[in-house]
C-alpha cells in the first residue's frame, strides 16, 4: 500500500492532576491513506475527540498532555514541530470542523472576516483577493447569497448554513486532511444528509482525506472507507467498512450494532450492553470491556488482549474471537 498520509503510532494523551491520571487516549495506532475516509466511532469518553485534538496539538492545557507516541503526517512527526511550525499546519494542511458551529464560529466577527483570516495567515493574498476567494468557497459549499453573507454574522444563519460556513473555512486552503468531530450531530436529519453529501464532494474535488469522528453507526455506514472502533481509550476493532458491518468481530462492536433500533426491520427487544464504561482514572488490569462482555472468561480480567489481525486488514482486540 502507498505511504499513508497520516500515521498515529502508540499515541497516549493523559490528563494529569494531583490525585488522578486520566488515560483519555491510551496507546492507539491509526493510519489514514490519501483520499481515504476513516471513521472513528465510539461512545462518550472513549477518547475519540481527544485523538483528534492530539493530531491538531490542541489538547487542553495544562492538565492534558501527550505523554507518548508519534503522529506522522506527510513525512514529519507533528509532535516534534515547534509551535510556529504547527500553526503553519493548522488550517492549511490539516483543518478541523466541530459539532457545534455556533460555538466554533466567533460571534463578533463577520463570516467574511473569519474565512479570510485563514487565507491571510497562510497565503500571500490581499484582503480583496481573500474576500473574493471566500465568496467563491461559500458558493462552492452551497451557501446562497454568498456575496452578502460574507458581511453577516454567525447568529444570522441557520445551523446547517453555519456548518457549511465551517466547512468553507476548513477547506479554503485545500488541506490534505480534514478532521470532522461529530459534524452533523447537532443537525436535523435532512440537513445532516446535505452536509454529508457536501463532505463527499469535498473529498472528490480536493482529494482530501477525512477523519470523521462520530457516535452514529448510520453515518459511519454512509461515509467510511475504513472504521476504527474505540472503547475506553483504546482501539478495539479496526477494519474496512464493508467487513465491519458484514462481520463485526469484537463483542463491543457487535453489541453496539445490535443495540441500535432499525428503520427497516422489527426487533422485539433491543440488545443492550449491560453496565457502563469503566472510569478512565482507574482502568482494570485486563480487558477494559470484560465487565460488560457477554463472552468474558476469567482470563480476560487477567491480561490485556493485544490488537491482533484476525483476517487480512481486520484487527481486533479480543483473545476469544
Amino acid at each position: 500500500m502507498a505511504e499513508p498520509l497520516l500515521a498515529i503510532k502508540n499515541l497516549k494523551t493523559y490528563f494529569i492532576s494531583k490525585d488522578a491520571e486520566v488515560r483519555a487516549v491510551d496507546g492507539i495506532d491509526i493510519e489514514v491513506q490519501p483520499r481515504q475516509v476513516v471513521c472513528i466511532v465510539g461512545e462518550s469518553g472513549c477518547g475519540k475527540s481527544m485523538t483528534s485534538l492530539s493530531i491538531m496539538r490542541l489538547v487542553p492545557k495544562p492538565k492534558g498532555k501527550i505523554v507518548d507516541g508519534e503522529i506522522w503526517f506527510n513525512g514529519r512527526d507533528l509532535l516534534k514541530l515547534s509551535e510556529d511550525e504547527m500553526t503553519d499546519v493548522r488550517g492549511n494542511e490539516i483543518s478541523m470542523i466541530f459539532q457545534e458551529p455556533m460555538t466554533a464560529l466567533n460571534p463578533v466577527l463577520t463570516i467574511g472576516e473569519q474565512i479570510t483570516e485563514v487565507l491571510l495567515r497562510h497565503r500571500k493574498m490581499t484582503k480583496r483577493q481573500a474576500l473574493a476567494k471566500a465568496i467563491e468557497m461559500l458558493q462552492f459549499v452551497g451557501v446562497p447569497r454568498a456575496s452578502e453573507i460574507v458581511h453577516e454574522y454567525p447568529h444570522q444563519l441557520s445551523g446547517g448554513m453555519r456548518q457549511r460556513v465551517m466547512i468553507a473555512m476548513a477547506m479554503v486552503c485545500e488541506p490534505k486532511l480534514l478532521i470532522a468531530d461529530e459534524p452533523t450531530t447537532a443537525l436535523d436529519v435532512t440537513i445532516q444528509a446535505q452536509v454529508l453529501e457536501l463532505m463527499k464532494k469535498m473529498r472528490e474535488d480536493f482529494n482530501t482525506s477525512i477523519i470523521l469522528i462520530t457516535h452514529d453507526l448510520g453515518v459511519v455506514a454512509d461515509m467510511a472507507d475504513h472504521v476504527v472502533v474505540m472503547y475506553a481509550g483504546q482501539v478495539v476493532e479496526s477494519t474496512d467498512a464493508d467487513s465491519l458491518f458484514a462481520e463485526p468481530t469484537h463483542p463491543y462492536t457487535k453489541g453496539l450494532l445490535a443495540s441500535i433500533p432499525s428503520l427497516e426491520e422489527e426487533k422485539d427487544v433491543l440488545y443492550s450492553i449491560p453496565g457502563t464504561v469503566p472510569d478512565a482514572a482507574a482502568f482494570p488490569k485486563g480487558c477494559r470491556f470484560a465487565d460488560r462482555c457477554p463472552i468474558a472468561q476469567p482470563s480476560c480480567r487477567e491480561k490485556m488482549p493485544e490488537l491482533r489481525e484476525v483476517k487480512p486488514g481486520h484487527l481486533v482486540r479480543c483473545d476469544l474471537v
Binding site: 436529519v189 444528509a193 453529501e197 453507526l217 458491518f245 453489541g255 443495540s259 450492553i273
Partner: protein, 321 residues
C-alpha cells in the same frame, strides 16, 4: 379497539412576537397550528419531526404546562383544557413527563429520595409510605434501594434518566409524555432505557407519547407514529404502514435521509433543498411546498387537510386528492 385515553382536537399554540416600547404584538410564531390526534389506552404514539416542528410544544400543552391558544385536550373523558387550580391539580398525577436532559431535569441540591418522593408528599402520602414507594420504584427502574440517599451528580446520564422515570411513575400515571427521553444517551445506554420503558408500559398499563427526532427509535417503541412539519401533523399512521409505505413526500425524504447502519441495500437518498421555513412566517398553502420535490400548483395556494388514504393511515397532501 380500546377506548381513547387522550383526544387532542384542533390544538394551536401561537407565540406572540412583540416589538417596540409598548411591546405591541407584531406577529405570531405558529408553533403548533391545528393539530388533532388520539392516544388509546395502552398505546404508544410516537411524534417525529425536526427542530421547530412543534412536537415539544404539543407535548407541553398536553401536560398543561403551556396554555394552548385554542383547541381541546380531552383526557380520560374530561376536557382538561380549561381546568385551573384545585381541579387541575387533581388530574395532574395522571399524566407525567420524562425530559430530554437528565442533567438539567433533576435538582442537584435534592437527594434522590426527595426527588422521587416530592410528588407523593405533595399529594398527601405520608413519609413512611413515600419511602417504601421510593424503594420499590428505584428497584423497579434498575437502581438500588441505597441509591435514595445519594445526589444526582453521583449518577451517570443513563442512571439519571432512570431516576427521572421513577419520579414520573411515582403517582401511578396513565399517560407519560417522553420528550427526547433517550436522545442525550449513548447507544448502549439508550437501548437499556428503551427496554425499561417498554417493560414498564406493560407492567403498569401505561400509554406513552414518545417525542423524538430519531426515526428508528420511534419505530422501535411506538404503535402509531405522527410526523410533524412546521406546526402541522402531515402524516399519522400505524408504524408498519408508515415505515413501509410512507405517503407524504416529507416523510419519504425524512426516512431516506436517516442513515441506516448497514452497507448493503441502502435506499436511495432524497436530499431536500434548503432549510425549514420560519414558523413566524410560514409559507402559504402546504407548509412543505417550498422544499417538496413533488410540488404542484395547488400546493402553493391551499393547505391540504389530514385525510385517510388507507386503513389507519392519514396524510395531509394534495397528491392523494
Amino acid at each position: 379497539m380500546s377506548e381513547n385515553l387522550l383526544e387532542v382536537r384542533n390544538l394551536k399554540k401561537y407565540f406572540p412576537i412583540t416589538a417596540g416600547l409598548l411591546r405591541r404584538t407584531v406577529g405570531h410564531v405558529k408553533a403548533v397550528d391545528d393539530v388533532s390526534f388520539t392516544v388509546r389506552t395502552g398505546e404508544t404514539l410516537g411524534i417525529v419531526g425536526e427542530s421547530g416542528c412543534g412536537k415539544s410544544t404539543t407535548g407541553r400543552m398536553i401536560m398543561r404546562v403551556l396554555e394552548p391558544t385554542s383547541g381541546e385536550i380531552v383526557f380520560d373523558g374530561q376536557d382538561i383544557t380549561k381546568l385551573r387550580g384545585k381541579e387541575l391539580r387533581a388530574v395532574r398525577p395522571k399524566f407525567q413527563m420524562v425530559f430530554q436532559d437528565p442533567y438539567a431535569s433533576l435538582n442537584p441540591k435534592m437527594g434522590i429520595e426527595e426527588i422521587i418522593a416530592e410528588p407523593l408528599i405533595v399529594n398527601g402520602v405520608n413519609r413512611k409510605q413515600a419511602t417504601e414507594r421510593v424503594i420499590h420504584l428505584l428497584e423497579r427502574v434498575g437502581l438500588r434501594a441505597d441509591d435514595r440517599n445519594r445526589y444526582p451528580h453521583e449518577f451517570s446520564g443513563g442512571q439519571r434518566q432512570r431516576i427521572g422515570i421513577a419520579r414520573a411513575l411515582a403517582l401511578n400515571p396513565k399517560l407519560i409524555v417522553a420528550d427526547e427521553a433517550v436522545s442525550a444517551l449513548d447507544v448502549s445506554i439508550q437501548s437499556q432505557i428503551l427496554n425499561l420503558m417498554m417493560d414498564l408500559k406493560k407492567e403498569f398499563n401505561l400509554s406513552y407519547i414518545f417525542i423524538s427526532h430519531n426515526l428508528a427509535v420511534v419505530r422501535h417503541i411506538s404503535d402509531r407514529v405522527g410526523v410533524m412539519y412546521l406546526g402541522h401533523m402531515v402524516e399519522l399512521a400505524d408504524k408498519r404502514s408508515l415505515y413501509a409505505d410512507p405517503r407524504h413526500p416529507y416523510t419519504e425524504a425524512l426516512l431516506s435521509a436517516a442513515p441506516e447502519p448497514k452497507r448493503q441495500g441502502r435506499r436511495e437518498r432524497i436530499i431536500l433543498q434548503g432549510d425549514v421555513p420560519s414558523p413566524a412566517n410560514p409559507p402559504k398553502g402546504c407548509p412543505f411546498h417550498t422544499r417538496c420535490p413533488k410540488v404542484m400548483d395547488i400546493c402553493k395556494v391551499e393547505r391540504p387537510a389530514l385525510k385517510q388514504v388507507a386503513p389507519n393511515h392519514l396524510v395531509a397532501c394534495h397528491l392523494y386528492n
